[in-house]
């Protein structure tokens, strides 16, 4: 039975508590890096992202053409499987990198790919830019981070439905319709400045127009084929995004100010790294979001002495994540506190690095009493 009642609402009880104890817009731990080295790692280039974008669009075109040519035979399924992952998983990472503005050196290239990726993912480019900004300011701070995927305890249906893109689709479709109607929820208003809202409304209306054209084409053809190209890939191609995305923070600490405690780096295969654009180096990305995706591996090599060891595979990461999620059903304060190597600077109390698994979490107001089974860190 859950001992705490966490309030993840952006304007809720725990949002206020986090603010009161200094967890909001706070200073975070950073590994020391000489300015010269950091400048070299932050340097922007167009070449790597142009190459990767050309490869991505070429692969999408080939797989889409194969799917269309063999439609409606089941022989088209492998082509759709590839197209779907590129449309609904690779575009997630393009949304992310171009949202940071770090994929390309040239600004319009970042902006153009950002808009395309947002459309594919059905993510309003204004809304999601600002929600991700908040995610970087207040990473996994309860009541402030709008991108917390797994609550404590986890909502299993949400985690499973997301494998098929359903939960995110429902939220994005609702946002599309309300924004097209010129409305924004109070929670969304809490992180989107007033000056930016008209752009969110305008884009939602344009997208509705595009979807109306796709629907008209489907009706005219008497086939769902147009939706296989636009829209439906969200349902049949999100699984890779979800598998990689769940590794970022699940099972780790809440309400700490050290990304080594709440983010996870996992070494994955080259194909997944292409799809995910190296976001498997997630501690590194959160600690230094200015470093473009194509230098994250170098950054990892440079600062790994100060980080918990990277997981050697996705399997290794999920062997840590799944038991932690199960344990959080009986003890929502449980989390995985990863051991630092001897070369690392220790977790520091001022960054809530003294928080131990199973102990009450600072900034959470829903405790019914002292935890009966609190245990020290393993």
């Amino acid at each position: 039975m859950a001992r705490t009642n966490r309030d993840y609402a952006l304007l809720g009880r725990d949002a206020k508590l986090a603010e009161e104890i200094g967890l909001v817009s706070a200073q975070w731990y950073h590994t020391d890096m000489p300015r010269k080295e950091m400048k070299a790692l932050m340097k922007r280039e167009d070449g790597p992202a142009i190459r990767d974008t050309a490869m991505l669009f070429a692969a999408m075109a080939v797989s889409a053409l194969g799917g269309i040519a063999l439609w409606p035979s089941w022989w088209s399924a492998p082509f759709w499987a590839v197209y779907g992952v590129l449309y609904a998983s690779a575009m997630d990472s393009r949304w992310h990198e171009c949202g940071h503005g770090s994929a390309f050196r040239t600004r319009w290239m970042n902006d153009a790919l950002y808009q395309v990726a947002c459309f594919c993912m059905l993510r309003n480019p204004v809304l999601w830019r600002w929600s991700h900004t908040r995610h970087h300011t207040d990473t996994i701070i309860v009541g402030h981070d709008p991108e917390i995927i797994a609550m404590r305890p986890a909502v299993v249906a949400r985690l499973v439905l997301n494998l098929f893109g359903i939960f995110e689709f429902l939220g994005n479709a609702r946002a599309l319709l309300t924004l097209a109607a010129g409305q924004m929820s109070e929670q969304e208003k809490s992180y989107v400045p007033e000056s930016e809202r008209p752009a969110a409304f305008r884009i939602a209306r344009i997208w509705l127009g595009i979807y109306a054209c796709v629907a008209a084409a489907a009706l005219a053809m008497g086939s769902i084929l147009p939706f296989m190209l636009v829209g439906l890939p969200i349902f049949y191609g999100s699984w890779h995004m979800v598998l990689t995305g769940y590794m970022q923070h699940l099972g780790l600490a809440e309400n700490v100010l050290d990304h080594r405690l709440n983010s996870r780096t996992v070494l994955i295969n080259p194909v997944s790294r292409f799809i995910y654009w190296n976001m498997n180096y997630h501690v590194e990305h959160h600690m230094f979001p200015m470093v473009p995706y194509h230098r994250l591996k170098d950054l990892h090599e440079r600062i790994r002495h100060d980080l918990p060891p990277a997981h050697p595979s996705m399997l290794s990461a999920y062997r840590e994540i799944l038991p932690a999620l199960v344990r959080q059903f009986s003890n929502p304060d449980w989390f995985v506190k990863r051991t630092l190597p001897p070369t690392a600077k220790p977790y520091r109390p001022e960054f809530h690095g003294d928080l131990e698994p199973g102990r009450p979490t600072p900034g959470i107001g829903g405790y019914g009493g002292l935890p009966p089974d609190a245990v020290p860190a393993e």
């Binding site: 400048k39 340097k43 922007r44 600002w130 900004t133 400045p193 000056s195 979001p289 200015m290």
Partner: protein
């Protein structure tokens, strides 16, 4: 307003910046790719992050926290999440000294 010595010309590489604190305020002093010097407020207008840890790309300073961008010559906010312009301050070079004119 007084002119204050912020640094010397050799203290900042071209296409880079340094932090300069004075009178309880923080400033950022820039050395542009064509050798000119500029000065702005030192904190991002979005969330009070020190710009000195950011990246200078031509005439743009990018905030290290959320990648918001400003034109450091004019202070103009160029890319979300920054919406409010940076304050800018006059700069002159005397010999090797970089002087900025800041509010008293």
């Amino acid at each position: 307003m007084p002119w204050i010595k912020a640094c010397t010309t050799g203290d900042i590489e071209e296409e880079d910046l340094i932090r300069f604190d004075h009178g309880g305020r923080s400033f950022a002093v820039y050395h542009s790719p064509d050798g000119e010097f500029f000065c702005t407020d030192g904190l991002c207008t979005h969330e009070d992050v020190h710009l000195a840890d950011g990246l200078v790309i031509d005439y743009v300073i990018e905030c290290p926290k959320h990648n918001g961008q400003f034109d450091y010559r004019t202070g103009e906010a160029m890319r979300a999440p920054v919406c409010k312009d940076l304050g800018t301050y006059p700069v002159k070079v005397e010999g090797t000294d970089v002087l900025i004119e800041v509010p008293a």
